[in-house]
């Protein structure tokens, strides 16, 4: 039987001990990630391999609508955006649905670890996976002679806003998926269709009908904001405040969905 103080104490923040608990929880999230090596390699390697394929087929093509930058320059920030969105949105939301339906979220909820610690650890784990992918993709870019980002600070800002925005959106979307079987197909189909129309695989000229439609979506906005800070594109600022604002608004939508619909218990039965 517990021998600690028996009088009830209130509050959910316990200072340095909690910060240590976050670090510990991140360590276990990472352990869980790497203990499934096929899943880990697929998660981290997919974006890099994807980029390698596109870089190898780009040749010497240029993008007239973006000031004549080389296509290989165009793909690197685009796939970095893809890596962020895949980790923070699609993989995260599928993982959350699976954990919820397996009862793992319920078990964690019943432990003394506060929600904010558990959520922070999930975010930081996702951020680590993102950073590994970004480093790998920058390396692939270098291998093809693409040196960037041109402006590091706005680039890092776009990365951070993208991670927060898509993590919030991923958590929100997880609340809309009813069961683990539906999670993969539903989330991935929507994600890849939106990616295709948002300029990941081929440049979409600004002002085109497709761009005007997809400008409302955070996917194109993150691609554009990373593009603007990664490549010196004539006539654009590296500080893509407007694009990041749209990503942030979608993040807020994710937060609202999460706060209104979040469930710790499995929905089956």
């Amino acid at each position: 039987m517990s021998t600690t103080a028996t009088s009830p104490t209130s509050g959910s923040f316990q200072g340095v001990g909690d910060l240590k608990l976050i670090v510990r929880q991140v360590r276990y999230e990472q352990l869980s990630f790497w203990l499934n090596p096929i899943g880990a390699i697929f998660t981290i390697g997919f974006s890099t391999v994807f980029l390698l394929i596109f870089e190898s087929t780009a040749g010497k093509s240029t993008v007239a609508s973006l000031g004549g930058i080389r296509l290989i320059q165009y793909y690197v920030p685009g796939f970095i955006a893809y890596g962020i969105m895949a980790s923070c949105f699609s993989i995260l939301s599928i993982t959350i649905v699976n954990r919820r339906e397996m009862g793992l979220l319920k078990r964690l909820r019943l432990s003394p670890a506060p929600t904010w610690i558990l959520m922070s650890a999930i975010f930081l784990n996702t951020a680590i996976v993102c950073v590994i992918q970004i480093v790998l993709m920058l390396g692939v870019g270098r291998a093809y002679g693409v040196h960037g980002p041109a402006d590091w600070i706005p680039f890092l800002l776009a990365v951070v806003v993208g991670m927060f925005g898509f993590t919030a959106l991923g958590m929100g979307v997880s609340t809309l998926v009813p069961n683990a079987d539906a999670a993969g197909p539903v989330i991935n189909i929507v994600f890849f269709v939106v990616l295709a129309f948002s300029g990941l695989y081929y440049p979409i000229p600004p002002g085109s009908t497709l761009a005007n439609i997809t400008d409302y979506l955070p996917v194109r906005r993150l691609i554009v904001s990373l593009q603007d800070s990664f490549n010196h594109i004539p006539g654009t600022s590296p500080w893509a405040w407007h694009d990041l604002g749209v990503v942030a608004i979608w993040g807020v939508v994710g937060v609202v969905l999460t706060l209104r619909r979040w469930q710790w218990a499995p929905r089956r039965g």
Binding site: M1, S2, T3, T4, P8, T9, S10, G11, S12, L21, R24, Y28, L31, S32, L35, N36, M102, G103, L104, K106, R107, R109, L110, S111, P112, A113, P114, W264, A265, P266
Partner: protein
């Protein structure tokens, strides 16, 4: 102060009533069983006591605090242990890793190796969870429930899916925890589990408590009808047998009575007088299962 105090608890999901007017206390150190069919409200009740669900009305105290009070929830959760109805363990961790991780959430956890020993998984300590059998995973689940060294342990159908030896081992573990002062609140479908473990039992049916008491007295079990049974002696006809309305089936005599002392006195006196041995003589009180079925059937 009781470990758990529930007074007129009610919970509804929209128009669906999950529990209504549920009242009971669980004293410290007691093993208390909530018995009832599926959908009776057992899990909802303990989820409210754990602070996992909010109640619609009524008063609830768990270890002296309101479990729905967010201010003391962390304190409360560091003092309770929970074994969920369904397995919920990450498949890629080893047994030791998942226990070590969870131990870190508590202020004064049990040593991980001690828990591994208690749940009988010493040989599997470094195996991945996904490599364990269903019964072994269930035992790990129990281990996660006790790793925090709880004052109060909630066990939601803890032996469902275990083989007979696994069930007995879990019973031994629960007895050991109870003996060391841990209060245990369990839900179960198994009558033998209640008889083996519980100090007190409450039967939930259709969202309400329909009976409560000790396993030996619930539903008037200690005062109701008993059945006296013995093999019909050779050369004796049913009309020769003393006692109220004996029935003979397949050579076995059955007498139902609530005056067992008098009937036994008359019967054994008759047997001794005539030199009959009355082989197979047995007196059986109505079983807990009979009581349970009666309570849940009449309530249907």
């Amino acid at each position: 102060m009781p470990a758990v105090s529930v007074s007129h608890l009610a919970k509804a999901y929209g128009d669906v009533v999950a529990v209504k007017d549920v009242t009971f206390d669980v004293e410290k150190g007691e093993v208390f069983a909530l018995l009832g069919p599926n959908g009776a409200g057992k899990t909802t009740t303990i989820e409210i006591l754990e602070g996992f669900r909010d109640r619609t009305s009524g008063a609830v105290q768990t270890l002296g605090v309101d479990p729905s009070d967010r201010a003391t929830q962390r304190w409360l959760r560091s003092r309770i242990g929970v074994v969920l109805q369904e397995l919920a363990v990450e498949p890629f961790y080893s047994v030791r890793q998942v226990l070590t991780r969870n131990a870190g959430y508590y202020p004064s956890p049990r040593p991980v190796d001690e828990v591994i020993e208690l749940i009988g998984l010493r040989d599997k300590a470094d195996d991945r969870v996904k490599m364990l059998s269903g019964g072994q995973q269930r035992r790990l689940d129990v281990g996660l429930g006790i790793i925090g060294n709880p004052e109060l342990l909630f066990l939601d159908e803890p032996t469902t899916g275990l083989d007979p030896s696994g069930r007995r081992a879990s019973w031994d573990l629960i007895r050991e925890l109870a003996a060391s002062g841990t209060t245990v609140l369990l839900t179960t479908h198994y009558m033998d589990e209640v008889e083996a473990l519980a100090d007190k039992v409450a039967v939930l049916s259709k969202a309400e408590i329909v009976a409560s008491g000790t396993p030996t007295s619930i539903g008037g079990r200690d005062t109701g009808t008993v059945t006296i049974r013995f093999n019909l002696p050779e050369g004796v006809s049913v009309s020769d047998i003393p006692g109220p309305d004996p029935i003979v089936e397949d050579g076995i005599v059955r007498i139902s009575t609530d005056q067992e002392l008098h009937v036994l006195h008359e019967l054994t006196g008759w047997a001794i007088e005539h030199g009959y041995a009355l082989p197979g003589l047995a007196v059986t009180r109505v079983s807990l299962e009979d009581i349970y079925l009666h309570l849940t059937r009449t309530d249907a």
